[in-house]
């Protein structure tokens, strides 16, 4: 807001008009909301004037009471059902991605452990074991283990009271869209590449990626990035009043 710097006579009508335009530019405020807030601001200005304050003082006191436009927008949209459902969809997508990602990690770790067992063990192992071992990628037991492990992992974290670890990880990852997409994509590519290497002799990596990653990892990642709540930066005017 540049109103403060004007050295000419303060015009309350102009100030209110500027405020109105700033409010109109905020997302999440309907024209009805804006009109209601404007009548409120005018009411407030009038009251301060009646108490004997001049136009400029009245406007700024009323402005402070109503709150900066970006904060109004946040408070209004926090109570908006569309926003609430947007947030739920965000956590759903994030949960889906996290479990897919952990599943990928678990599959890789399990497969690597199985690969560490030397080949000759298979010769002496009973039939059920060698068949399980040979078909590690497709066996039902293996898929079951992979889908259950992320839950076990999460349960362990929560049971041990490590909620703040999860919180910290989420905060680090969700600091910005760019970081989320970068970390998410790179980690998925690396994990997929390692999985591909451990599979030995399957089709090309590009094909492998196209079939799996796009749907299971990159689509939810894009949804998360799109729905991500970005923290609004305080306007310069507010930064000054806060300091």
């Amino acid at each position: 807001m540049q109103i403060m710097e004007t050295k000419t006579r303060f015009d309350v009508t102009v100030a209110i008009e500027k405020w109105r335009l700033e409010v109109a530019a905020q997302p999440g405020l309907t024209s009805d909301n804006q009109h209601e807030l404007e009548t409120h601001l005018r009411e407030s200005v009038d009251e301060f004037r009646k108490r004997g304050l001049n136009d400029e003082e009245s406007f700024w006191l009323a402005y402070r009471r109503v709150g900066p436009p970006h904060q109004l927008s946040e408070e209004f949209s926090a109570a908006d059902p569309r926003r609430i459902w947007r947030e739920r969809a965000f956590w759903l997508a994030l949960g889906y991605f996290a479990f897919q990602w952990l599943g990928l990690l678990c599959r890789l770790v399990l497969r690597s452990v199985l690969l560490l067992i030397p080949d000759w063990v298979g010769v002496y192992a009973p039939l059920w074991w060698s068949s399980f071992w040979m078909s590690t990628g497709t066996s039902a037991a293996f898929s079951l283990a992979v889908s259950v492990l992320p839950f076990v992992f999460l349960l362990l974290l929560v049971a041990r009271g490590r909620g703040e670890t999860i919180d910290f990880a989420a905060r680090c990852l969700l600091r910005s869209r760019r970081r989320l997409i970068l970390v998410g994509t790179v980690s998925v590519l690396v994990l997929n590449w390692l999985t591909f290497m451990s599979l030995r002799g399957s089709t090309g990596f590009a094909l492998f990626l196209a079939g799996d990653s796009t749907i299971h990892y990159l689509v939810p990642l894009a949804v998360i990035a799109w729905l991500m709540p970005i923290q609004a930066k305080p306007s310069p005017a507010e930064a000054v009043t806060n300091s």
């Binding site: 807030l37 009411e43 904060q71 926090a78």
Partner: protein
């Protein structure tokens, strides 16, 4: 000053009770709450309107744009019949909490 959580929790019964006395608008409601609490409950304007809009969505209050006696247009809120029922229930709950604390602090009870 009243803690933020308590201010938020008490906003519903306060708004409904104020509107039970007759229709009112945002600015007046805030003034009234400030006056009633001796300045102890300070509602920010940004907080009140989302509360009013939520109550309206829940069918507890109605709203209408009207010209005031000064010629200014204002959005007036009034208690809906559903709001009346909710207010009775809220009243019971708040008085129960109030009386429980009063018993502990050996203060006079309020009849419910």
């Amino acid at each position: 000053m009243i803690a933020k959580d308590l201010v938020a929790a008490s906003s519903k019964p306060l708004v409904l009770s104020i509107l039970a006395d007759g229709e009112s608008y945002g600015y007046e409601i805030i003034q009234k709450v400030r006056e009633l609490s001796g300045g102890q409950i300070e509602w920010s304007d940004g907080m009140l309107y989302p509360v009013l809009h939520r109550l309206e969505r829940d069918g507890l209050i109605d709203s209408q744009w009207k010209k005031s006696e000064t010629g200014r247009e204002r959005k007036y809120y009034s208690l809906a019949s559903e709001g009346q029922k909710t207010l009775i229930a809220e009243r019971q709950q708040w008085l129960t909490v109030h009386n429980s604390l009063c018993k502990l602090w050996k203060l006079k009870l309020v009849s419910m």
